[in-house]
């Protein structure tokens, strides 16, 4: 089996079979990461460009490592050291890069739809590493892998995503991915950070964290940004923490064998207390490890590889 599209732009519309394929492939690659020599020649001769128009630590390093582990050649681009400063358009930038003969583009951009725009401009495979508030498919896939490792099946798993849903691409991709895999998803946050007609995405919406946590298996915290206060969406981070901070005390409401997740970077003490973030039920660092394996799987599958990995 292969993936249907040449690109990975989002999880909306992706089938369960395709997600399973990516996760199964990631499991094989994860095994490679445990070896003494963590490198395979799978993508030797292929060139990947990492186009980062927006700051990123985790995702960027994770993609770079995934590319290196697979022996791909890679080129890094960041918006602040490029011709973007001279006014070059996104289209010109990517077409010029493609003219230098490349095979894949990994893109992070603050504009929703930028990877779709790029996919229309170039023949190379495009991987969305986060676009605006739209999607962040590789993050959601690594979250799915992390949950699958712990719970075996995601069917019926009760997940709540807490925080700034309005601006979160992680929330959107996870809602699609988790729902497709059979999980039951809820979101929780203040109404000013909840998008219009959110429930139409098939999720239950809560403004009260204690109610949202009742009987859940998984809590996924999202980063809350200081700018939201300036934009008039929140009166203060202090009040946000009081209402929506994930504290140890609140975890009582969860089911046994619960899990705490966060895509990072964490604002310790704001959306989640250090005690919870570092607690035994937290898989936050496991998520990061799985990120490399999932990205290796995606690079491999989009390069034309089929499931078997030796």
């Amino acid at each position: 089996m292969k993936l249907k599209s040449k690109d990975l732009l989002g999880l909306q519309g992706m089938s369960k079979q395709e997600i399973d394929l990516i996760l199964d492939t990631a499991v094989s690659f994860k095994e490679i990461l445990e070896r003494p020599i963590r490198k395979v020649p799978t993508l030797r001769g292929l060139t990947v460009v990492n186009l980062f128009y927006e700051a990123s630590t985790r995702t960027r390093i994770s993609f770079e490592l995934a590319e290196k582990r697979l022996s791909a050649d890679l080129v890094n681009f960041s918006a602040n050291t490029s011709s973007v400063q001279k006014g070059e358009t996104l289209k010109d930038t990517v077409r010029n890069i493609e003219a230098m003969k490349i095979d894949m583009v990994v893109v992070r951009h603050s504009a929703s739809g930028a990877p779709h725009f790029i996919a229309n401009c170039v023949d190379s495979s495009v991987i969305n590493a986060g676009d605006g508030a739209h999607e962040h498919p590789t993050q959601a896939l690594l979250d799915l892998l992390t949950l699958r490792e712990k719970y075996k099946s995601l069917k019926g798993l009760r997940v709540v995503i807490v925080g700034d849903i309005l601006h979160s691409r992680v929330a959107r991709s996870n809602i699609w991915g988790l729902s497709t895999m059979g999980a039951e998803v809820a979101v929780c946050g203040p109404p000013t950070l909840m998008p219009y007609e959110m429930e139409k995405m098939g999720v239950e919406v809560f403004f009260d964290l204690d109610k949202a946590l009742e009987g859940r298996d998984v809590v996924m915290g999202l980063r809350i940004q200081l700018e939201r206060q300036k934009g008039g969406l929140l009166p203060s981070l202090r009040e946000y923490t009081n209402l929506f901070g994930i504290t140890k005390d609140r975890l009582k409401r969860l089911n046994k064998n619960f899990t705490i997740m966060h895509p990072g970077p964490i604002n310790r003490g704001i959306e989640i207390t250090p005690e919870v973030a570092d607690g035994p039920y937290s898989v936050i660092l496991g998520q990061v490890t799985n990120g490399v394996a999932v990205r290796m799987a995606i690079l491999y599958l989009l390069s034309g590889g089929e499931k078997k990995v030796e």
Partner: protein
């Protein structure tokens, strides 16, 4: 045929909403005027020597209407002649069946004094159709100081507007409505609460939720519509609401009209034929302000067109260069061209779907805008301007932007199949477009 006519449109179905005429007839044109209208088909009696005389145009099977008027276009001259000029805009108008267009003042520099109005009219002398100028309501479109409206009127402007943006300051809007009363002018209002729309690039809806694009709520428009109709009621001034896009706006205008407030309104073809769902492909040609809304808004606009809440159909023709539109969705400027697709959309979406009768549709593109702007146009009458549009109501065609006369091609209707099109456009007795 007698020598005293220059052109005869023979045997078309003549629809003139102003006089209620709606039957087969011949229209005789002499010079720039309509000389005679006869309720018969000249060609029936002359079948044998048909087409011998090239002054006789066989319009049988066609619909002859007063020349179409578009009271809301952006022609980009002066300032962005790379996107459109008054001349190329008039070519697009003629191709779309329009004999008269009214250009908005948000050029660079804006049309806000006699000199700039004169510039437009000087350029318009070469245009294929009639071009009227809407002057700025405030100096430099700054929303702070009224323009010299009497001066603008003397130079030939037909209304005032800061279109492209709202007059946010309610006191200035009140003053504009008050001041324009003595000129008999409407103030054309672009209704948008800039605080509510701030940062938005599309309608706030389930689609914006899916796409993660910042939304513009419908109430950014409705709050301003509500304000403007209260101001119009209070001052007795005339307000014309441009490009109505939401269900709530239609309801507000309907209620105000019932109360007798001097309020008129227009809707664009894109707001009655598209929803924001087409943005799912991030097509920047679908970015427009006010944004494309939802199906319920589209339905209410159609209802408003049918019950007379919405007086006219105007395109808000807004040319943008390919370079400006070929970018990430949020980075593209809002606006779409409309002159060459409007008539086909009206016929396909409104007439053929029984939302409007032919007579109603034609009224909304001829006599209604003419009345709002006090133009002595928009009707078929002996002695009146020979501005006529001959419509082929049956022809099926596919929108092909490469065929547009407009300098800009930013249309979301590319590839759309439409029925009905301008077959011939006549301005002052002269054929300016022929299919």
């Amino acid at each position: 045929m007698s020598e005293e006519y220059d052109l005869i449109l023979a045997g078309g179905k003549v629809i003139d909403p102003a006089s209620g005429l709606s039957k087969i007839g011949d229209i005789y044109i002499k010079g720039k005027k309509i000389a005679k209208i006869e309720a018969k088909n000249l060609l029936d009696s002359k079948r044998s020597k048909k087409s011998k005389d090239d002054r006789i145009i066989d319009a049988s099977g066609k619909i002859v209407t007063p020349g179409l008027i578009d009271m809301h276009v952006h022609l980009r001259e002066p300032g962005r002649e790379d996107e459109e000029t008054i001349y190329t805009g008039s070519q697009a108008a003629a191709a779309g069946g329009f004999t008269c267009i009214c250009c908005m003042p948000n050029t660079e520099p804006p049309i806000d004094d006699q000199e700039s109005v004169n510039f437009v009219y000087e350029k318009a002398r070469k245009a294929l159709c009639k071009v009227f100028c809407v002057g700025a309501a405030t100096k430099g479109l700054n929303g702070e100081e009224l323009t010299e409206m009497a001066d603008l009127k003397e130079a030939g402007a037909v209304a005032v507007s800061d279109d492209g943006k709202p007059i946010s300051n309610s006191r200035i809007m009140r003053n504009a409505l008050d001041y324009s009363r003595m000129l008999g002018w409407p103030v054309i209002s672009h209704c948008e609460d800039l605080d509510l729309s701030s940062g938005g690039v599309m309608n706030e809806s389930y689609t914006s939720t899916l796409l993660g694009l910042p939304g513009i709520p419908s109430l950014a428009e409705e709050i301003m519509v509500s304000r403007d109709l209260r101001l119009a009621e209070f001052t007795g001034g005339r307000v014309h609401i441009a490009h109505v896009s939401t269900r709530g706006s239609v309801e507000l205008i309907r209620a105000a009209k019932k109360k007798g407030v001097k309020i008129t309104s227009e809707a664009t073809p894109h707001h009655f034929s598209l929803t924001d769902e087409i943005i799912k492909t991030f097509n920047t040609n679908a970015r427009v302000n006010p944004p494309l809304r939802t199906q319920k808004d589209v339905e209410e606009i159609k209802k408003g067109l049918r019950d007379g809440t919405i007086d006219c159909i105007a395109t808000d023709h807004a040319p943008h260069s390919i370079e400006e539109k070929d970018v990430e969705f949020g980075a593209a400027p809002p606006g779409m061209v409309g002159l060459e697709t409007a008539l086909g959309l009206v016929i396909t979406e409104l007439v053929n779907k029984k939302i409007l009768s032919w007579e109603e549709a034609v009224a909304k593109m001829t006599v209604n805008p003419a009345r709002i702007l006090n133009l002595n146009l928009g009707r078929i009458e002996v002695g009146g301007s020979a501005d006529l549009t001959v419509v082929d109501p049956k022809t099926s065609w596919t929108v092909d932007i490469s065929q547009f006369k407009s300098k800009s091609k930013n249309s979301p209707f590319e590839g759309r199949k439409l029925t009905g099109r301008a077959w011939m456009t006549i301005v002052d007795g002269k054929i300016v477009h022929r299919l």
